[in-house]
């Protein structure tokens, strides 16, 4: 790669890359992010290459290995361009069929995605309900680029935004565009990015200013930052370059967790290629603008996603937050002004510059512009990353894109915003998703995790699960967060094991409110959300646990016994072989018998039963009846 010495040279290169492509040659796009690789994308890549070489199809067909496209439910999948044919859940044999068909311009009908309700095959990706209802501004770019080939990015319009900024030569314009776009921090708090940049741009320039990309995504069940980093690392670099030009920052840091090895690998390659091409480092594209980025790997503490703790971690100290103010933008890394933005925020910057702030601001609602990626997981039919305009309702995501419940049980709640988010019940599904509405409902936007729960989920147990996570991840510096999360967990543990009292319920509420009020950093301030939101919307479940000593969802094992409902049981014997302890007995056609003394409440029989003939009952009632 030759270092580009001027903007002219870059344009020439971009034209050459575009001209080298033949749009008529079909491309087999194989998503191979961490999720894709885990479900077998590497095998597909190997077979595809083998087929291409052994059958001499290299001139007729191209392969592009990309990051995640978002439809995790369908991995490993393949997309054929330019038609946009989508094949889900492939094996090695199917891959061979597809390669052959694609080289001849055919479609393999029987491998196409099938709509579970109409049972019809849908050939095009854009017609599949999961993709159709989204607005894929960021994720669609994952399909277009191979993350380890900078020419792919350049060829698909990459770095045009940077060139646009360099040609204009006005840093103030960049900050104004960021402000006009209305973009708000995608890390969860929703602070306007343009305002943050404005403060940084005005800050005194002593020994340099820092820009940080926060890629310490620790929420369980959330992985949108990882997918963007793995799939399109160059867009983050471009975003940071534009930010640096606007704010006068001299050094960039990408703080990424070690648990994301593929993202780190792709970032290292992307940074090296950008440097070799003269897009990073001293005198970028022959202009007077210099900026470089280094990677700092986080050692795995959840709290290091909090900006003051992140700064300490970058400095090599213990990752512990400190009280704000002063805010990082006044006093950050090594005491210098520092602006910290989330991965998704950075990825939006080139888009804003390219299409203009006004156009960007038209998407979403007035105070919440642009699109947001949510990771939709849990008890829905279609799980994966979904990108929607801000302001759509929860119901549209869960039922429209998610396709409704995955099992027979009804959807009961959705948990947004990661461990420190809240659980919102079905009547709240009309809520439009934005920073303010979620906060008012007792939850948070967070980084965009969205966990769907059905009737088989016990909300007290959910609160306990998240509290267990938070008590382990609390750094322990401030007293209320450390002790508060421990004591909340303790009370929840009492309630789920049948020792809870009504007095404890009031204490839990009081403690949760104090922890929210008095904790030092965002972790503690939001740690009470799982408790407060479940107390607000699912108080009856708490009361059932305490007063009747019964867990209606049959999750808390000390608080229920299973029983066969004789009227419903058809004697089909389906539950007999799945029982690991042999507690279920019975003969064909007659209601089965469950031996309570050997039943370990593993739920296997409940899942096997097609007639809902096995149900939980309170332990006390069980003791009375037999």
């Amino acid at each position: 790669m030759e270092r580009l010495a001027s903007i002219e040279q870059f344009r020439t290169l971009q034209e050459r890359v575009v001209a080298d492509r033949d749009p008529n040659i079909p491309v087999v796009v194989i998503p191979a992010g961490t999720c894709g690789q885990a479900s077998g994308a590497n095998d597909l890549i190997r077979i595809a290459k083998h087929e291409l070489l052994s059958k001499g199809l290299a001139e007729k067909l191209r392969i592009r290995i990309t990051g995640c496209h978002g439809f995790c439910q369908a991995e490993p999948s393949v997309l054929i361009e330019p038609e946009g044919t989508f094949y889900p859940r492939l094996g090695i044999k199917q891959m061979m069929q597809i390669i052959e068909a694609a080289s001849q311009g055919r479609v393999v009908e029987e491998l196409l995605w099938r709509d579970p309700t109409t049972h019809k095959r849908v050939p095009k990706q854009s017609d599949i309900p999961f993709f159709r209802s989204q607005r894929r501004t960021l994720l669609a770019r994952n399909e277009k680029v191979d993350p380890i080939r900078i020419y792919d990015y350049v060829g698909s319009g990459g770095y045009s935004a940077l060139v646009k900024v360099l040609v204009r030569g006005n840093p103030g314009w960049v900050v104004d565009e960021a402000k006009a776009s209305g973009l708000r921090g995608r890390g969860g708090a929703g602070f306007p990015t343009g305002l943050k940049w404005e403060v940084l741009a005005k800050a005194r320039n002593g020994h340099g200013k820092f820009l940080v990309c926060n890629a310490d995504e620790g929420d369980p069940g959330a992985y949108m930052d990882r997918s963007v980093l793995e799939g399109n690392p160059q867009s983050i670099i471009e975003g940071m370059l534009i930010g640096a030009y606007g704010t006068g920052a001299t050094q960039g840091i990408i703080y990424v967790r070690t648990e994301y090895p593929l993202a780190i690998k792709h970032l290292v390659i992307a940074l090296r290629q950008a440097r070799e091409l003269g897009l990073l480092g001293e005198k970028i594209l022959g202009t007077g603008f210099s900026f470089d980025i280094q990677i700092v790997k986080g050692a795995g503490a959840f709290v290091c996603g909090e900006e003051t703790a992140l700064i300490r971690s970058v400095e090599g100290e213990r990752g512990e937050p400190r009280q704000r103010p002063p805010y990082p933008v006044e006093k950050g890394i090594k005491g210098e002004p520092t602006a910290i933005n989330n991965v998704e925020t950075w990825a939006n910057i080139p888009i804003i510059i390219n299409e203009g702030a006004a156009r960007f601001a038209k998407v979403g609602s007035p105070q919440n512009t642009g699109t947001k990626i949510f990771s939709l997981v849990g008890k829905v039919r279609n799980t994966g990353l979904v990108e929607v305009p801000m302001g759509v309702t929860i119901g549209e995501i869960v039922h429209g894109i998610g396709g409704g419940p995955s099992g027979r049980a009804k959807i009961k709640a959705v948990q947004t915003g990661g461990p420190s988010g809240g659980c919102l019940p079905v009547p709240m599904f009309d809520l439009s998703l934005n920073y303010e509405s979620l906060a008012a409902a007792g939850s948070i936007m967070g980084s965009g995790g969205m966990i769907v729960m059905d009737d088989n989920t016990c909300m007290v147990d959910v609160a306990k699960y998240f509290m267990e996570f938070l008590k382990d991840e609390s750094c322990g510096k401030c007293f209320t967060c450390r002790q508060g999360t421990q004591r909340m967990w303790e009370i929840l543990d009492d309630i789920t094991t049948g020792r809870g009292t009504l007095a404890q319920l009031d204490l839990l509420q009081e403690l949760a409110e104090v922890v929210r009020d008095t904790s030092m950093c965002g972790l503690g301030q939001t740690a009470a959300n799982p408790v407060l939101s479940t107390l607000r919307y699912f108080r009856d479940e708490y009361l059932t646990h305490i007063e009747r000593k019964f867990c209606p969802a049959t999750v808390c094992r000390d608080l229920f016994n299973y029983r066969v409902i004789a009227e419903k049981c058809t004697g089909c014997r389906l539950c007999l072989p799945v029982c690991p302890t042999g507690a279920m007995t019975g003969s064909k056609g007659k209601a089965h018998n469950l031996d309570r003394s050997t039943c370990i409440k593993c739920r296997a029989c409940v899942e096997a039963c097609k007639f809902d003939a096995i149900a939980g009952e309170p332990v006390i009632a069980a003791a009375q009846s037999g």
Binding site: E473, C475, G476, C478, L507, D517, S519, M520
Partner: protein, 225 residues
């Protein structure tokens, strides 16, 4: 000078003054456990929270770290502050009931019971010892280890630090073990409450070289005998 309103009184303080300093100067009592003049503000015990702002934007902040701003409205003993303070004291009593300082503070705030499971911990992790060791004694012999409930004060791998000069400053500032170190029953003297600091004296079983500021430190007295 910075002008602000504290508990309804218009006051002015010098720039850079923290809300805690301002309140104490004006005679409004604010309890603290992790604050000591001469050490950097830490904001860990959360006892010193005060309410700032008005209406829906009112929030609690730790007064020891918050510097006074022009036009700020501060309430040092509002209902919200007192509720938080009482809950914090209740939590402290639940984990470290033997500390005289905590008992006195609880009594002063009319906290007469605690509703959690009783624990008997020797350390509230206020960080005073760590900071005095680093900032005043220039030794940096002890520090924090672990996170969450596993957080503790000590040296790496519990090996006595060569940087420790046995000055005893860590025990002197400790709000949790003060009572027990001045214990008047010699046979119970080495209560172990300071063991979480891994003081080298206990490791060595020798006390004659200990330059202890504590008067009277029974542990040192026994060693000298």
């Amino acid at each position: 000078m910075i002008s602000l309103t504290m508990n309804g009184l218009p006051v002015s303080v010098e720039e850079g003054t923290t809300l805690l300093e301002a309140a104490r100067f004006l005679g409004f009592p604010i309890p603290t456990l992790c604050h000591l003049e001469g050490l950097t503000p830490y904001g860990a015990c959360r006892l010193c929270v005060v309410e700032i702002g008005r209406g829906g934007k009112a929030k609690l902040v730790s007064s020891c770290t918050y510097t006074a701003e022009n036009g700020l409205t501060v309430r040092t003993a509002s209902w919200r502050v007192m509720r938080a303070r009482k809950m914090i004291l209740e939590l402290l009593l639940a984990s470290c009931p033997q500390s005289k300082i905590i008992q006195d503070l609880a009594a002063a705030h009319e906290v007469r019971r605690q509703r959690f499971r009783q624990e008997y911990k020797d350390c509230i992790l206020c960080g005073l010892c760590v900071r005095i060791c680093e900032e005043q004694m220039m030794a940096k012999a002890i520090g924090f280890r672990g996170r969450g409930e596993k957080r503790s004060v000590g040296t790496p791998f519990d090996v006595p630090s060569p940087a420790c000069r046995l000055c005893g400053a860590c025990m002197y500032v400790c709000p949790a073990c003060q009572l027990r170190c001045t214990y008047n029953e010699p046979e119970k003297a080495i209560c172990g409450s300071c063991a979480n600091l891994s003081p080298p004296c206990l490791e060595k079983q020798e006390f004659h070289d200990m330059m202890c500021y504590m008067a009277p430190c029974v542990a040192c007295e026994i060693g000298k005998r």
